[in-house]
Structures are given as C-alpha cells and as structure tokens.
C-alpha cells in the first residue's frame, strides 16, 4: 500500500529527527520534503501543500526550534499544529436558529452522498430532540425522491416532496411553509447533485438560497476526492457562501487530503464526517484527528477519548497535574495500569499512539507480565510507591519475596518506571504547547518504554 509506505517513511524521517540533538536547516528541509510527498499522496491540493510547507518551514528553521532540546519533536509539533489549524482548528457544530425552523441546505457533486447525509443528519437531530422535515428537492436523478422517502420511513420522519415536475425553488419554499405549519423545528433540503461548472444548475442553488434563506449551507464532499476538491469547493463557496462541509465515506482508507484542501481554500469548517453505512454513522469532525490521519501519525485523541470513557475524571485531572509537575509515582502507575487494562488489549491501545503503531508489529505483548507488575507494586509500602528512589537492595529483595517474583523483575520494573517518568514529562511538555486541554488522560501509556 502506497499510503502506508509513505506514512512509515514519514515516521522514519521524524524518528531520525527525534534522534538528533541538533538539527540543521538542511535536516528540516529534507524532512519537510517527505511531509510534502505524504501530503500529495494523501490528495492534498498541490497549491495548498506548497503554501503549507513554506509556512511550516518558516516556523521550523527558526532559532528557537533548531536550538531547542528536542528539535525533531518541535518540528512534528509544528506540522501537526499547522495542519490542525488549516482545517479550522477547533471542532465546529451546526447551530440551531433562535427562530425555528433551522433550515439546512445540502449541496454537492453527484455521488458525494447528499441524500444519505440528509438521512444521517435527520437521525442526529432526532437524537437531539428535534423534529426534522426532510425535503426532496432533487428532481433530476431517477428515484432520488424515492431514496429520501425510504430513509424517511426508516426514521419514521416526514418527507416533503412535490414529485419531480416542480421547480426545486418552489418545492423548497413550499417545504418551509409546511415545516412551519407542521411544527418541524429543523428542515433538511436535499438538493440534486451538480457539477460546479454547470452554470444553470448552480444558479438554481442561488435561487433556492435567496428564496428560503437557509441557516446552514453545507457542501457534501467525498473524502476520496483528489486535486479537484479545491475547484469544487471554491466554486460552491463563491456561488453560495457555504457555512461548512460534510466529509463523506471516511470509513474507507482515504487519507482525506480533500479535507485539508477545502478548509484551506474556503476557510470554512468541516462539521461532520460520514463514517459508515448506517444512519447513525455521522460524527462530528475533529480537525486534529484528521491531521494525524493525513500524516499517518496515529490517533492520540481517540485514544484519550477512549481512556476518558474508562477513567475517573477527577483522577485524570490529578494525574495531569502530577505530570505537569513531574510528580508521577508508582501509585499512579498502578492506578493507570488498572484503568488501562479496562480499556482493552494492550496492543490495541499502543497502536493508537503516534510512532508506536509500526514498531510493535513484531512485539509480543505478554499480558501476564502485567499481573507480575501489579503484584510487585502491591508489595511496596506507601512510602516506596511515592518515592521509588528509596528502594535499594534489601527493599528490593523484600518486595520480590512478597510478590513471588525475582529481584531482577523488581529491578526491571523500577528501570521501566524511570523511563516512563521521563517520557511522561515529554508528553506533558508537548501537550502544554499544542494539543490543549483535551489531554486530560494524557498518562495512559505508562509502560511505554
């Protein structure tokens, strides 16, 4: 697979950077060339890539980065931040209108997934306690109306249609009146797919916009779209002034460069991502995660979210505090161990950590090893857990006897812990800069090292 190959190459390049105490401008430039190729293979638009790389380069060859203690990581951090930033930074939602109904208009090329998205959005709004009206404004594609009606039936939600003989502008106008008299607080307009260069049909969209004044005009884009994504998005945005983008078919193996190109060209946020065949399969879009995906860097945030589901929030905050102050102890280690084991298999978790994925392929994780670690830590006194430095020869023997292990096991654990502490500090430092407060459970990989 081309993409995986590149992701690996990229990670290797970054690993090389990480290993270097000092970086030259040349090192950075050659790493950025790899980034450039990765972005292009991920279908990010050529011009966007060019701008992006020069922006990163400007920041990365600065004195602060090159002279910092961890220049490699600094470069990765910059790349990641800039990517996230390009995609609109924070997650962006659909706002409900203060004066209902909230009118949402879906537009896009043929086959992008508008009708399916209409059904998925309706499902989401129903979950939010809304009563959406689906509107069949695609009078061109054979059986498009029927498709929306079937989705409506599945959702047990009304579908407004006037057949395919009426003007879409009239249909949408009548639909709004219908929603008002019927008490629907959300209206979803499913318009026909059209080419961005089809003046006549683009004009029809402008007319619909003028007639019903939608609260949100969303452009639905196939995440597998190539270089052309910018032309499409630019034209739709120019004509209609879109409010956001829905990225579909993200459950495949597309690297999603289109996401980056579109946000960069239109400056509009990607609001949702279609991730499966079922009506539930529409998720809020996370620019930061997409950044990682495009670079093949793993998905730290999904890992953290998964951790958060399992973790006690208060404990997580305490832990974050400790990480920051570098006060991570064996007690915390133990706590973490239990929580992590609740999260699933070890390998599964490690796989989500950037840079780890392709290194643990051959690593045979012995889950029984974890029982041993637990036993060892349980045999320590409170003081020992808090200050492992105090555990010397005789204490080690005692702990080994108490836990039914060998002194070597205790030694190994203490050594691992020390490495972990070090890594924790690095992770903590990294978070302070870029990834923000979301890293509540940042300490979920304690025995990585």
């Amino acid at each position: 697979m081309i993409f995986e190959g590149l992701a690996e190459k990229l990670q290797d390049t970054f690993d090389k950077l990480k290993g270097k105490g000092k970086l030259s401008e040349k090192d950075v430039k050659s790493a950025l060339r790899e980034v450039k190729l990765a972005l292009l293979e991920a279908d990010v638009n050529f011009k966007v890539v060019k701008n992006f790389i020069s922006k990163v380069e400007e920041r990365a060859v600065g004195k602060e980065v090159l002279d910092s203690l961890t220049p490699g990581q600094q470069v990765i951090k910059i790349v990641n931040e800039e990517l996230t930033d390009l995609m609109g930074g924070a997650q962006s939602k659909v706002e409900y209108a203060s004066d209902p109904p909230t009118v949402i208009m879906l537009t896009g090329l043929q086959g992008a997934g508008k009708t399916t998205t209409a059904g998925k959005l309706a499902k989401k709004f129903i979950k939010d306690g809304k009563d959406p009206l689906l509107v069949a404004a695609d009078v061109y594609r054979p059986a498009a109306i029927k498709q929306l009606q079937v989705l409506g039936e599945r959702l047990d939600q009304p579908v407004f249609s006037m057949g395919d003989k009426q003007d879409p502008v009239d249909i949408t106008k009548a639909a709004i009146s219908r929603a008002e008299s019927n008490g629907n607080d959300v209206v979803i307009l499913d318009t026909a797919g059209r080419l961005h260069i089809d003046e006549e049909l683009m004009d029809e969209l402008s007319q619909i916009k003028a007639a019903v004044v939608p609260d949100e005009i969303l452009l639905v884009v196939d995440s597998m779209t190539g270089q052309d994504a910018v032309n499409v998005a630019d034209k739709f945005d120019d004509t209609l002034g879109i409010d956001g983008v829905v990225l579909t078919k993200l459950d495949g193996d597309a690297r999603g460069g289109a996401a980056l190109s579109i946000s960069s060209v239109t400056g509009k946020p990607i609001k949702f991502a279609g991730v499966g065949e079922k009506l539930e399969d529409l998720e809020p879009f996370h620019p930061d995660r997409m950044a990682s995906r495009i670079l093949g860097m793993g998905d730290v945030l999904s890992l953290i979210e998964k951790a958060e589901e399992e973790m006690d929030q208060k404990k997580a905050q305490e832990l974050e505090e400790k990480l920051r102050k570098n006060e991570f102890t064996l007690e915390d280690f133990m706590d973490q161990l239990e929580q992590v084991r609740n999260m699933g298999s070890f390998k599964e978790i490690l796989n989500m950590i950037p840079g780890v994925g392709n290194k643990i392929k051959d690593l045979d994780m012995d889950e029984g090893q974890l029982d041993k670690i637990e036993a060892i830590i349980s045999s320590m006194t409170k003081e020992e857990k808090r200050d492992p430095e105090m555990i010397k020869g005789s204490r080690r023997r005692r702990i080994a006897n108490g836990s039914g292990t060998e002194v070597q096991d205790v030694n190994r654990l203490l050594k691992q812990f020390k490495q972990t502490q070090k890594m924790m500090k690095q992770v903590g430092d990294m978070q302070k800069g870029g990834l923000g407060g979301k890293m509540g459970g940042g300490g979920n990989f304690p025995f990585f090292g």
Partner: protein, 337 residues
C-alpha cells in the same frame, strides 16, 4: 395534492406515477441533446474541457515559457501532473524518464519534451482491443456514488442501439431506491430487469438473472451491485460470492467485471482498484464524471501498477456521453486546464 406533497403515504398507483415521471425525466434529458450531431471525438473534447475555452494547453504554454530545459521546468511539469491526479510516484517515474531520454537524445528544445511525455503516458496506458462478440455477463462494481447505475443505463442503451438483447439485474438490494433507479433506466432503454425486493440476497438476484439470460439467449446481462467501500471486508466477501455464483452458472456466457471509478477521485482510486481486483478480478474500468474539472489522471497509475485497462469514459449526463476510452484524447485532455 396534499397527499402527494406529503409523499410518505404514497400508494401503488402513485408509485407507478412516480416511476413514469422518472422515465420521462430520463427521456427529457436525452432529447435535449439529441439534435447536436457532433462527432464522438468532438463530444469527448467538449465534455472533457468545458472550462477550456480561451486557454492553451497548459503543457504547451509551460514548455513555451522556457527557452532551455532545466530543473525548474521539470518541477513545473511535476506540478501539472500532480494536479491532474497522476500521483506522486507515477509523476516521478514519468519525469525521471523524460529527463533520461532528454539526456540520452541530447534534446535541447523544451517543446520536444511534450511528445516524449505523451508517448510515455500512452505507453503506460498500453490499451488492448477487447472482443465483445460472445454473449457476456457484465458485473458492475464500485464504491458508493461512483455512478454504477447510471453507467449501466448507458451501456444498456448502447448495446440496444447495436441490436443486442440486454437484460439487467438489480443486484443493489441495499441502497434505498436503488432498484427503482435501475428499473427506471430499464424501462427507458426497453430492457427487462430481474429484481427481488430491497434487502434480498444479491447473489440470489444474480443467480436468477443468469438463468434467465441463458434461457433467453441474451447477448448482454448487466448485473448491478451495491456500492461499497473497498475496505469493508464483509461487503467485499459478499461481492466475491456474487461473482462465484455468476461464474458457476454462466455456462456459455463470458463473465467480465467492470469497475466504475469517479474521475474526481484522487490517489485513493489505486487502493479501490487494487482491492476490487483482489476480490473479483476487474477486467476494465469505466471512468465517470469526466465532464467536470477533474482529470482522472490516477487511472494511469492503475493501468501501470495493476494492469487494468480503461474501457469507457463518462463525459456527461446524456446517454451518448458514455464513450469508448481513447488514450490519445484522454492524454490531450489531461493537460487542458
């Protein structure tokens, strides 16, 4: 009227009506363009380059803007290729090859590079003739939204025009109203369609259709399948099963698989082609939606890496807008921006 507006409660009669409307719709779209009797080549050019008026070929202007061959020129060339979705690897390969030939043949004039480039791409595309005299079962596969059903409608129409007996099989039993969409085309084109209800086993539909095609001695049976992402292994397994059933029952009929690919797709198309090929052995590609601004350059990489030839291109909504793939015109259009 109200009942009609609120489409949910539609009874059978209304559905029939809708069906008729759908057919009229198709007819209308078709009629609109029946009168402009342009040659196939002309239509192709037109379809491929709607935005082109007033622009010279990007390649020509590139090569003209340099009076000697240098590294910058090659970089600009890379840019053009990548923007046509040719992909990084194939682009590098092409540019490296041109560099080498330019050196070997001591070429100084940038304009001469155009021919080398075009020849290189044509060589990569390496089209072979297909013979379609034997009765054929054509299984049409692809990701969601690629344009399978529409392409089937157009292929059926072409075959009918060639006086062939055509039968359609509504194998997309998953997507809402997919069967209706195919039936609408079938009625328009004047072919029969074998269908079960929504949610039925796609392989069973294929089985019935093959039996029917054999007993009627149909020239061409086209089997529609549900769009699926190539990474969904359970759905790909299902597709394999459909193909197995078809092959087992095909008897004297030849079985071919056509992958429908959306030209706006980027490098992911390689992955699509690869995984569909692994599952059902793809014989050819139909590249759709070439009437936009997308170039579809990724098919070069697909032909090169996987050896799958491009057979058909879709350059518009009308029935005539499905055409045989002509490498020369394709390469020309690739560089028209």
């Amino acid at each position: 009227m109200l009942k009609k507006i609120f489409g949910l409660g539609s009874d059978e009669e209304e559905e029939e009506k809708e069906q008729e409307e759908v057919e009229e719709e198709i007819e209308e779209t078709q009629e609109e363009d029946d009168d402009d009797g342009k040659s196939l080549f002309g239509r192709l050019k037109e379809g491929l380059s709607k935005t082109r008026d007033g622009f010279v070929s990007q390649l020509e202007s590139l090569f003209r803007s340099y009076d000697k061959i240098n590294e910058e020129l090659y970089e600009d060339l890379e840019e053009i290729l990548i923007q046509a979705d040719v992909g990084v690897q194939t682009t590098m390969k092409l540019v490296d090859d041109i560099k080498e030939k330019a050196r070997e043949e001591k070429i100084k004039d940038p304009n001469k590079l155009i021919n080398i480039l075009q020849d290189d791409i044509l060589e990569m595309l390496n089209q072979t003739e297909e013979d379609d005299e034997q009765p054929t079962i054509l299984m049409v596969v692809g990701v969601n939204g690629a344009g399978k059903t529409t392409t089937i409608g157009k292929i059926a129409q072409r075959a009918k025009q060639d006086d062939k007996d055509v039968l359609l099989a509504a194998g997309d039993t998953f997507r809402a109203a997919a069967i209706e969409q195919l039936e609408a085309w079938a009625n328009k084109v004047g072919t029969e369609v074998i269908s079960h209800q929504e949610g039925a086993d796609s392989a069973a539909v294929a089985y019935d259709a093959v039996q029917s095609a054999k007993s009627k001695e149909t020239d061409l049976l086209i089997v529609d399948t549900a769009g699926r992402l190539h990474t969904q292994s359970n759905l790909m397994d299902e597709l394999e099963k459909v193909k197995r059933v078809i092959e087992k029952e095909s008897g004297p009929m030849k079985v071919e698989v056509l992958l429908v690919l959306d030209a706006t797709t980027g490098q992911n198309a390689v992955s699509q082609a690869k995984l569909f090929d692994e599952a059902v052995d793809v014989d050819g590609i139909a590249l759709t939606k070439l009437d936009g601004t997308a170039k579809g350059g990724v098919v070069i990489a697909i032909r090169e890496e996987l050896g799958i030839p491009i057979r058909l291109i879709g350059v518009g909504e009308d029935l005539e807008d499905l055409q045989d793939f002509e490498p020369e015109s394709f390469v020309d259009a690739l560089f028209d921006f």
